[in-house]
């Protein structure tokens, strides 16, 4: 217990945190109805993965993980931009942000 208070944070905690964040992101992605909330969940998932990368990079003393997290951040940013553009267009055409109502591309 004293180790926990005075020593460094155990790396497993970071991984657990990352897993919890990822799980929350997935839950939000599946269960939330608002499109923007779904997007936020996606960002959450991406950031959880970033945390995992950094953790392992620190653990194995490889810089590769941090480079990967750069990539993930770039892709996340680009994807957010494009995704928000799509949401705006959908909102202009359908006047709704409820994901269940944008379902005309059926078989």
């Amino acid at each position: 217990m004293s180790n926990l208070l005075t020593g460094p944070v155990p790396l497993s905690w970071y991984l657990i945190l990352s897993a919890i964040l990822f799980g929350l992101g997935v839950a939000g992605f599946i269960f939330r109805r608002n499109v923007i909330t779904v997007f936020m969940s996606i960002e959450l998932m991406l950031n959880a993965v970033n945390l995992t990368f950094i953790t392992f990079s620190y653990q194995f003393k490889h810089v590769d993980g941090q480079i990967y997290s750069f990539f993930v951040m770039v892709v996340a940013a680009a994807e957010a931009a494009v995704g928000l553009a799509i949401i705006l267009t959908v909102f202009k055409n359908r006047a709704t942000l409820m994901i269940d109502e944008v379902s005309s591309m059926k078989y």
Binding site: V26, F29, I30, V38, I99, D100, V102, S103, S104, M105, K106, Y107
Partner: protein
């Protein structure tokens, strides 16, 4: 020596007339067509004079056609004494018939096409005769079959002509199937198709007392020969082939193509002499065909059909000759047959031409005073085919019959009986056509010199050609058989009896023939309808084949199985797609759920497979 020039001239004639014929005047077409054959004939003469006396085989190798593993087939032409005889027959009689055809086809349509095909035929026939290996011979073999189809179906607007052309080609093809199998067996047995190598190897083999590989090869070659040379059971195409113009009947179905089978057997003598079972089969088939066709020829009313069955019958004689080992006698008969049968057909053509298309004997009669040259030349040909003493037919037929007697006396007697029938039916045709009163409605006239000229030359050859001692000429290749005077004169006597009976039935007592046929009743009907062989073949072979093809092969296999499979692939793809599309429900959350489930499944799969390492 440039042997290749011999077939090349007619080939060039074919190309020139075929490609340009529509735009050049008739005189030029004639010049090209006849000239190319004349050049070919001249080159043959020059070559033979240059090579004479032809002691050894003269071979020219041109290029290697097929080179694959152990298989090496070249394009080689060769001349030995047998080739020399065949070359002279093909180009010589061919030339006469080409000249005749200029007059005969005067008023016919498709003039240049006719001569182009005729020249093409000459090319293939010469390739066949000059070939030095079985494959090249087969090229010529197939080619003459093709030209036969093209020329028999020359009047292609007539249904019976095109049907006859099809029949000729298809029945030939059945024979070719046997020939192909024989070629495969020869290749397997000897490793080569070259004549010299095959025959040298064959001579080293023992005579096969029972069925062995050589018997199989030769029997299959015989199948090919029965197709090409119209023997039982594949003779049915030849009478129908009379639908073609008469020069075609003379050239292809009398003088040259049909003799290709006999030539091939004579050429393969080294194989046949080692397979006595096949030799006997050849002789029996030949004899049976000779007798059978002669009986049919006695009843026919169409002059060309009489001569067609006569051809089948005489080919039977040639087969009998080679079947009993008298190869040179068989080839001798090929030559004399080319003379007198060619003349018979050309003469028949002259009669038909003079009567503006009439072919039925019942519409003829008393034509002697209208077309004397035709009548006299046909009389000479009839004498020759009947074996009248000292005509060409006398010498060749007797060479065969005497050899047959030495093999088995009963063969001689059947042959003699058939000779009597031959004399009878050929003179029946002559008497009915040329004596008595004219029964038709046309204005008979004599043919022009361009047609009667070849008739006269062939008449001279029919009468005197027997003195060209072919068996002696072919001595180095085929041992000569001993003569027998008494047997020869006996068959000549039976021939004279046949002539007398024909005179009796059709000149002295005209009503006798009709009363005789009435008294025979059913038998006459059977023979007149050619023993219903065509009808039997139709029911037994043709109809089942067509029905089977239509029902099983077309509807079952092609439309059902193959189309079904190919179309089925498309249908299945559509089916699978129509199920998979249900995933696209438009509901984005369900997509999300699928993504999550899929990634979980993927992680589990990787985990179970031992990790990503």
């Amino acid at each position: 020596m440039n042997l290749w020039l011999i077939p090349i001239f007619p080939l060039l004639g074919f190309l020139a007339n075929g490609l340009l014929g529509k735009r050049i005047p008739k005189a030029l077409i004639n010049l090209i067509a006849v000239g190319s054959v004349a050049l070919s004939f001249a080159w043959v003469v020059k070559t033979l004079l240059g090579l004479s006396p032809i002691e050894t085989k003269y071979i020219e190798h041109y290029f290697t056609w097929i080179q694959s593993g152990m298989l090496n087939i070249g394009v080689d032409f060769a001349v030995d004494r047998l080739t020399a005889v065949m070359l002279m027959i093909v180009t010589g009689v061919g030339l006469l018939i080409h000249i005749y055809a200029v007059g005969y086809m005067e008023h016919e349509g498709g003039y240049y096409r006719f001569f182009a095909f005729l020249n093409l035929f000459m090319f293939f026939m010469l390739v066949l005769v000059l070939a030095q290996n079985y494959l090249l011979l087969f090229v010529g073999w197939e080619g003459v079959g093709l030209c036969s189809y093209l020329l028999v179906g020359f009047y292609f607007t007539e249904q019976f002509a095109t049907t006859a052309g099809n029949k000729a080609f298809i029945v030939n093809r059945i024979g070719d199937y046997g020939f192909s199998l024989a070629v495969f067996l020869i290749l397997r047995q000897f490793g080569t198709l070259d004549f010299t190598k095959v025959f040298d190897a064959s001579r080293a083999l023992p005579v096969e007392a029972s069925a062995g590989i050589l018997t199989a090869i030769t029997l299959l070659l015989l199948v090919g020969a029965t197709g090409k040379s119209a023997q039982i059971p594949l003779y049915v195409w030849l009478p129908d082939a009379m639908a073609g113009p008469t020069p075609v009947s003379a050239l292809i179905h009398a003088a040259t193509m049909v003799t290709a089978g006999v030539y091939m057997i004579a050429r393969s003598a080294a194989l046949f002499t080692k397979a006595p079972i096949t030799m006997d089969t050849v002789a029996v088939i030949g004899l049976a065909t000779a007798f059978f066709a002669a009986t049919i020829g006695m009843t026919q009313m169409d002059i060309k059909k009489v001569y067609a069955y006569s051809t089948v019958s005489q080919l039977g004689y040639m087969f009998l000759g080679v079947g009993v080992g008298a190869f040179s006698a068989g080839i001798f008969h090929v030559m004399t047959h080319a003379f007198f049968k060619g003349l018979l057909f050309l003469g028949a053509g002259a009669v038909i031409h003079g009567l503006h298309g009439e072919q039925d004997l019942r519409q003829m009669g008393g034509l002697f005073k209208h077309m004397k040259i035709t009548a006299i030349t046909l009389f000479c040909a009839s004498l020759a085919i009947s074996g009248f003493p000292f005509t060409s037919g006398f010498f060749s037929k007797d060479a065969i019959l005497v050899a047959a007697y030495q093999r088995a006396p009963w063969m001689y007697w059947v042959g003699v009986l058939t000779a009597g029938l031959t004399a009878f039916y050929v003179f029946r045709a002559w008497f009915v056509a040329f004596t008595g009163e004219y029964r038709g409605h046309a204005h008979p006239h004599e043919s022009p010199l361009v047609m009667t000229g070849p008739l006269m030359i062939l008449a001279a050859l029919s009468l005197g050609g027997g003195f060209i001692n072919i068996p002696h000429f072919l001595e180095p290749l085929f041992a000569e058989k001993p003569e027998s005077q008494s047997l020869a004169w006996l068959s000549a006597g039976v021939g004279l009896l046949g002539i007398f009976l024909a005179w009796l039935f059709y000149v002295a007592k005209p009503g006798l023939a009709d009363s005789f046929t009435k008294s025979l009743g059913g038998l006459y009907t059977l023979v007149y309808n050619k023993y219903f062989v065509d009808e039997v073949y139709d029911v037994a072979v043709v109809e089942p084949t067509i029905e089977g093809s239509r029902t099983i092969l077309w509807r079952g296999v092609d439309a059902g199985l193959i189309d079904g499979t190919v179309n089925g692939v498309g249908h299945r793809a559509r089916g699978v797609g129509s199920i998979l599309r249900l995933i696209q429900s438009g509901n984005i959350r369900s997509y999300a759920a699928w993504v999550v489930l899929g990634s979980i499944a993927l992680l589990l799969a990787i985990g179970f497979a031992g990790g990503s390492r």
